[in-house]
Chain length 443, copies 2
């Protein structure tokens, strides 16, 4: 009997780590994809009997898993990779990052920087990123052109930049983008007020109202450093989280980034309120911002996501490294080697992130009906031998360089480690141009 | 005028980071190599006028730097990569690692495991490793066969294994190896008493005498966990470091691994005594052993080295990742973003390690007269753009997958990411054999 059902793509694989259901690893299975969606997951032998795919890719020494979700980026800052290291946070910001941004960040910078960042992320197995930066509609346009999925923040802060002159202008530009991308299959928008210390009470109230009305996530830096807490106590007589609560922002839509400074009461508060925490371990370490209590958060059933932060404080967009660092650091901080297990860390970077960002029915796991956002990881190299538990292998032993193929909504964006929808050479040339420009201005 | 001086190899490069002198980066320079040694470092244009090399390799988009020194390994345990994760130290050791070792570790295991480990290390830019494991002469033989440099520990502990039945037998086998490799150009030997809690007072005294007589480094786990301190207080009425001091081991020959538990007095003691600390940040995190006070140690002028520990607690032999984790973690632990700067971290993994291991005149920097242990790192990929300060780039943005060529004593062991002196396919086949064996025994 010859196969009867015509489909777009069949991916057969030695291993599949679907993330859902829990604790599941499939061996010698296949994923059937049509119209960009997963329509079936079944044993490899049965798949070739049942389906007649346009394309059949066979991954004989590979793991297929859902694409990673980088839950906190300032993508365009890829052009500032490593521009200022080993500096304290305020020295880094005030004497290096802010002056460089003031001088260089325009539409062209954001376009070229977003391209570089998206290229790096795709090559490392990230298929969706949650971004906060200036000229967000440019980043959305670049992501769409390349075919990458993105959650693009409607950024807002009180000080003027080339992008917007006032809080009102940030918001109106953000909402215009929101309207433009409403029915886009790859782009969703969330509110992205920068931080409690850069956004006024008035603006927080406005965003709170709008986020409730539209039921949209709010992506915001919260409790990054002890200094932020002290400043807030001085200026507002309360801790930043209390201020956000006052304005109705402490609810399941809040995705608070960093959260290194949390009292036991605050952990109780965000647990009860359903707030999500976006953990950026490498950035927190590099800037000596503080240590996020991941183990305590997970014990309190707070959903934890993982993000790289920008290339200026990390200095890469490598989610495999970030997952590993998160899993390792959680153990060191809690003095408990069972903290943030391999499976929990992988879930934080996939299904948990999808739920928090309002994409839980679309991505984050390999399940029938979801978008085919899938990565293939080679596991036959010297560095991959031996492997026992695959969650452990993915968390503690997998470099991003082992990612060979990447699909977003069924479209192959990386093939044998080469991007298919954009030119790596062009991106590198543009990055070198900016590198020269930035180096000459910062010296 | 045609070049007159015939030499073995000339390596021309866009960038050279020689590590010594401090703060130096050379652009468009070349390294002349003859008889396995660096005989000249000079501008690229002058080099081609002066030298007629048998082989001239041109690295137009690369960084040349000294090979990395992995200061703490149990190489053969590469075959136990990720066999037991997310477990507390004693559960991990007593219920997983020790039973597996008892069942599997023989000469063949050490041979196949050492091959796998050396292959992984070379592919990641490590040209020398400081090893402590059973059947050390097997690891020495494998390293020699492949052409890798190694510091092989004369391991000693009080309990019997298939390798040795008693402390005396460990020592006599170790000293036999020391005699056999005395004039080997790639292998040196050091004493490797396992830890204060596995070695008796009597054995510590013996090793102390011998190490002083022979002026050899002593490679030993010291103050890895708080539990180790408590046990020592109960059993000996003093902390392990005090016990080592009592037996004359607290001196510049001591390379104490981990050292996560140190009082201010102890930091003063090891500083005054010239003790070296081998920092294994990823292992310490994964096993929740504790946090090494790297910033305080460096402030006290204690020399800090960096090691991966074994693949059973890391789970890789990736020195670029370990350098990055060390630099990041030092900042988080000290709450000071200037702690363990990029340059300090690279020095810890090169010249500082060389000095502590008695190889300061041979390796650890690219200087005339030293052995040509050199790695070439490609810096033209998406992930490498842009780069400003090269120390920062090497520490925070360089994956080991960017290492393309590796030389030890002038001999090319990695060429375009392929090993030249051993078969990667054979190593993978053997690793899979062991993987099946271990998986069936541990289930």
């Amino acid at each position: 009997m010859s196969p009867t059902t015509a489909i777009q793509t069949l991916l057969s694989s030695r291993y599949i780590v679907p993330v859902e259901p829990l604790d599941t690893v499939l061996t010698e299975h296949a994923i059937a994809i049509d119209n960009g969606r997963i329509i079936d997951i079944l044993p490899r032998a049965r798949a070739v009997e049942k389906y007649a795919p346009n394309t059949h890719l066979e991954y004989d020494q590979h793991i297929l898993m859902p694409g990673l979700i980088n839950a906190h980026t300032h993508a365009a800052m890829a052009l500032m990779r490593g521009v200022a290291s080993d500096l304290s946070l305020m020295d880094w910001l005030q004497n290096h990052i802010w002056p460089l941004e003031k001088q260089h960040v325009d539409e062209q910078f954001v376009q070229d920087g977003s391209e570089l960042a998206i290229a790096e992320m795709l090559r490392g197995g990230t298929t969706c990123f949650n971004d906060m930066y200036f000229f967000p509609e440019v980043t959305a346009r670049v992501a769409t052109a390349i075919g990458m999925r993105a959650v693009i923040g409607m950024i807002m802060l009180e000080f003027p930049t080339r992008y917007a002159a006032s809080a009102e202008e940030y918001l109106s530009k953000g909402l215009a983008m929101f309207d433009a991308y409403k029915s886009d299959p790859l782009i969703t928008n969330v509110f992205a007020p920068h931080a409690p210390y850069t956004v006024s009470d008035n603006s927080l109230r406005k965003i709170s109202q709008l986020a409730n009305e539209l039921d949209l996530p709010v992506h915001m830096h919260v409790h990054e450093t002890a200094g932020e807490i002290d400043d807030s106590l001085r200026q507002y007589g309360m801790r930043p989280l209390a201020r956000l609560e006052q304005h109705g922002l402490v609810n399941p839509n809040l995705c608070g980034v960093h959260m290194t400074q949390l009292t036991a009461e605050e952990i109780g508060l965000i647990s009860a309120a359903g707030v999500n925490v976006i953990h950026c371990p490498e950035s927190n370490l590099k800037l000596a911002s503080g240590l996020c209590p991941v183990q305590a958060l997970q014990t309190a059933k707070v959903r934890v996501l993982i993000g790289t932060d920008s290339c200026a404080s990390n200095d890469d967009l490598d989610m495999f490294s970030e997952i590993r660092t998160a899993a390792l650091l959680a153990k060191g901080v809690s003095q408990d080697a069972t903290a943030l297990s391999a499976q929990s860390a992988i879930r934080a970077a996939t299904i948990d992130a999808a739920h928090a960002l309002g994409l839980g029915s679309e991505i984050g796991s390999l399940e029938v009906g979801k978008s085919a956002d899938i990565i293939a990881i080679e596991c036959n190299s010297i560095e991959s031998q031996p492997h026992f538990d695959l969650y452990s292998h993915l968390t503690y032993s997998t470099d991003r360089s082992r990612v060979c193929d990447v699909f977003v909504a069924g479209r192959q964006l990386l093939k044998d480690r080469t991007l298919t929808t954009t030119s790596e050479d062009d991106i590198i040339i543009k990055a070198k141009h900016w590198s020269d420009k930035i180096a000459s201005s910062s010296s």
